[in-house]
């Protein structure tokens, strides 16, 4: 089965849209028989989209968020970009893990746990999350 797919969504900065697009991506994975990655991809996708809507766009529905989904035989790649000013991802990634009883600040930890590669642009307004689909490559 050909496991390749390239798809782009542009949507207004609204959490309801995050739910809708998450469901559509889940359907894409099912069609490509990649259901076993669905939980990890849903978490990565929701964190990236939530950050773009809540922080990058401050839930301003006039602002747009872009998602590019690229699936190849080896990897699934999510690229999320918003129109906001970005954030200082370098200092956040450099800090230790959030305390176990803090109520926020776990988004980047989810990236680290479920993605094999996490890349930001310089300003932090775009993140690219890559998850390898081959179990042997993931374990390497």
């Amino acid at each position: 089965m050909d496991n390749s797919l390239q798809k782009t969504w542009m949507f207004r900065a609204d959490l309801g849209e995050v739910d809708r697009i998450s469901a559509e991506v889940s359907s894409c994975l099912q069609e490509l028989e990649l259901q076993k990655h669905n939980f990890a991809v849903q978490l990565l996708l929701r964190e990236a989209l939530n950050n773009a809507v809540l922080h990058g766009s401050a839930q301003d529905p006039a602002k747009q968020v872009r998602l590019d989904l690229h699936i190849s035989a080896d990897a699934l790649c999510l690229a999320v970009e918003d129109e906001g000013p970005g954030f200082d991802w370098r200092s956040i990634l450099a800090n230790p893990l959030a305390g176990q009883t803090q109520e926020c600040g776990r988004g980047l930890q989810i990236y680290r746990f479920y993605a094999d590669r996490v890349e930001f642009n310089s300003s932090g307004s775009r993140v690219v999350l890559t998850r390898l689909l081959n179990p042997l490559a993931r374990a390497a």
Partner: protein, 105 residues
């Protein structure tokens, strides 16, 4: 689909059967429901995840907030019927060190 949690109450104990995922779009309402329960005297909260597939960082924050609130009052939170994926997630964030988490049977 009705997204309201089903709550079964007996004295200081409440069991909350969630209708769907705990995410940024649902956590605000759930947070209000939890606050009402605690304000109404609940000290033992059981969260039933039978219908929950995904808990994002907002949802994890919500569970931690419930744990923090009830701990301060001498109460506790427990989670039941979690999927294997959710248990792996909760363990990654060491939530299992703070409250009981039971697997879906």
């Amino acid at each position: 689909m009705d997204q309201n949690p089903k709550i079964t109450r007996s004295a200081e104990k409440a069991e909350m059967l969630l209708a769907g995922d705990i995410t940024a779009s649902t956590s605000t309402e759930l947070r209000a429901a939890l606050k009402n329960l605690v304000g109404d005297g609940v000290r033992e909260l059981v969260v039933d995840l039978s219908n929950v597939r995904v808990v994002d960082s907002s949802g994890i924050g919500l569970l931690v907030a419930a744990h923090n609130s009830l701990s301060r009052l001498g109460g506790q939170v427990s989670v039941i019927n979690a999927s294997n994926d959710l248990i792996e997630l909760f363990k990654a964030f060491r939530l299992d060190k703070h409250f009981s988490i039971a697997r879906k049977e």
